[in-house]
Symmetry: C2
Subunit: 259 residues, 2 copies
């Protein structure tokens, strides 16, 4: 039996330590091909490149004999997945793994996440997909404590399959080696960002803003990703791209829309 083909991508860019760590782990499970942005794409949500050219090239970032085949791409994470599937891979991948993101994509962050948009793009194409994020924004974050759990989750996904129409959003707490309590399947916590714009004036006298903000958890549930992470667990949220709020269709049907 041939080894599973694992497409690896991310949103922090192809040189990000989180991606380099992920490639190493995934090579223990299968044949890895990397197609990742040539520059950081954080906060890109599910952006795609419509009115601009996309560049892509083979790159060698690891000179070892067993190195994965790697391509950089000028586009967004979703572009990388589209380009990989249609142009760069010579067969359909068995799974697409995105990350390891430098920073949390738990709760409402999933909406803004380039890491998760890559996984969702693969999911839309019917390919099992998982996004991994470590709750540590530092470029020097330590990805080692998470490696065993990541391999276990991917191996279980390859074995069991992921339900149709669903991708996994996995977040890993920032804890020392051996201190991860376990893995919990969760729901997305209700939360938002309390924005604050830092208003400044540029050298030519024009006002501009920096977006800053503070995370606000609006959910006291003990079945959420934020709760699990706060207790030292890895959170796994099955995430869907059918956004229909089915339970509200009946309610909106009572509106006076067709008198």
């Amino acid at each position: 039996m041939s080894k599973p083909l694992i497409l690896v991508t991310n949103d922090d860019g192809i040189t990000a330590p989180g991606l380099r760590a992920l490639v190493k782990s995934m090579q223990e499970l299968g044949e890895v091909v990397v197609v990742a942005p040539d520059s950081p794409q954080s906060g890109m949500g599910h952006a795609i490149t419509l009115d601009n050219t996309l560049y892509s090239k083979r790159v060698v970032l690891d000179a070892s004999k067993d190195a994965a085949k790697e391509y950089s791409c000028s586009g967004t994470p979703a572009d990388c997945v589209k380009l990989a599937l249609q142009e760069l891979l010579d067969r359909r991948p068995d799974i697409c793994i995105s990350g390891i993101n430098h920073g949390s994509n738990a709760s409402i962050n999933v909406i803004y996440s380039g890491t998760m948009s890559a996984a969702i793009e693969a999911g839309i194409e019917g390919i099992p997909a998982i996004g991994f994020s470590l709750c540590d924004y530092s470029w020097e974050a330590d990805f080692a404590p998470a490696q065993e759990a990541i391999k276990k989750i991917v191996a279980e996904a390859l074995k069991n399959g992921i339900p149709k129409g669903v991708v996994l959003n996995v977040n890993i707490p920032k804890v020392a080696h051996g201190e991860i309590k376990g893995i919990k399947v969760c729901r997305q916590a209700r939360a938002n960002w309390k924005e604050k714009f830092d208003k400044r004036t540029n050298p030519s006298g024009k006002d501009y803003y920096w977006l800053t903000g503070e995370f606000q958890l609006l959910d006291k549930g003990e079945d959420t990703d934020e709760w699990a992470l706060s207790k030292g667990y890895i959170s796994v949220v099955p995430t869907q791209f059918d956004l229909t709020a089915h339970h509200t269709i009946q309610d909106i049907n009572t509106w006076n829309l067709n008198e």
Copy 2:
């Protein structure tokens, strides 16, 4: 009683005919403030501007006495909403209306849609929100046939409120005046894009790609947005930003994650 405050935005940019038409209709229902991108942002998904400066300025695109207050912004649709709520508006809007998009945001297009990301951003902040799209990509599209229905939907939303955690994704078929059959509350159809990359070589010999694709409807249901649109109805899909696939949590809990 003061008139409702209506925040209007879009992703095609502040000069787009779809937005100009929307502003005119919304002024019949309330006080309008426009905060919209200074350039087209189609396909931006839920991107936000994290590592770059945001510019915004008052603009006058309509010199009439009753013109709405308008601001252009250098950022994405989601940025526009954040900036409006935190910096530009002097009170909380009663509703946020995004569009009218030049082109469909039905079915899977909701995932890539800048129009809908603006509405979702407002929804996350607890503000009722609706995205409107006309299934006609042309810059010269005729928005007149849709105006009465748009006003009716917004008026009903202001009267009834929109369920918590939900925003409305409204798509309008491209039909002549008087030929809209009615308004249907629907679910998001299953669909994807069959991508095709058009590979070319630039004048300096470097390969690049244009993303093109063909829409593939994967759903035969007669309760979907695509079905309603194909029959000449306006589709209204209640759309949520809790992406949890609640029905699959039990299944994934059977995986061997914590042995």
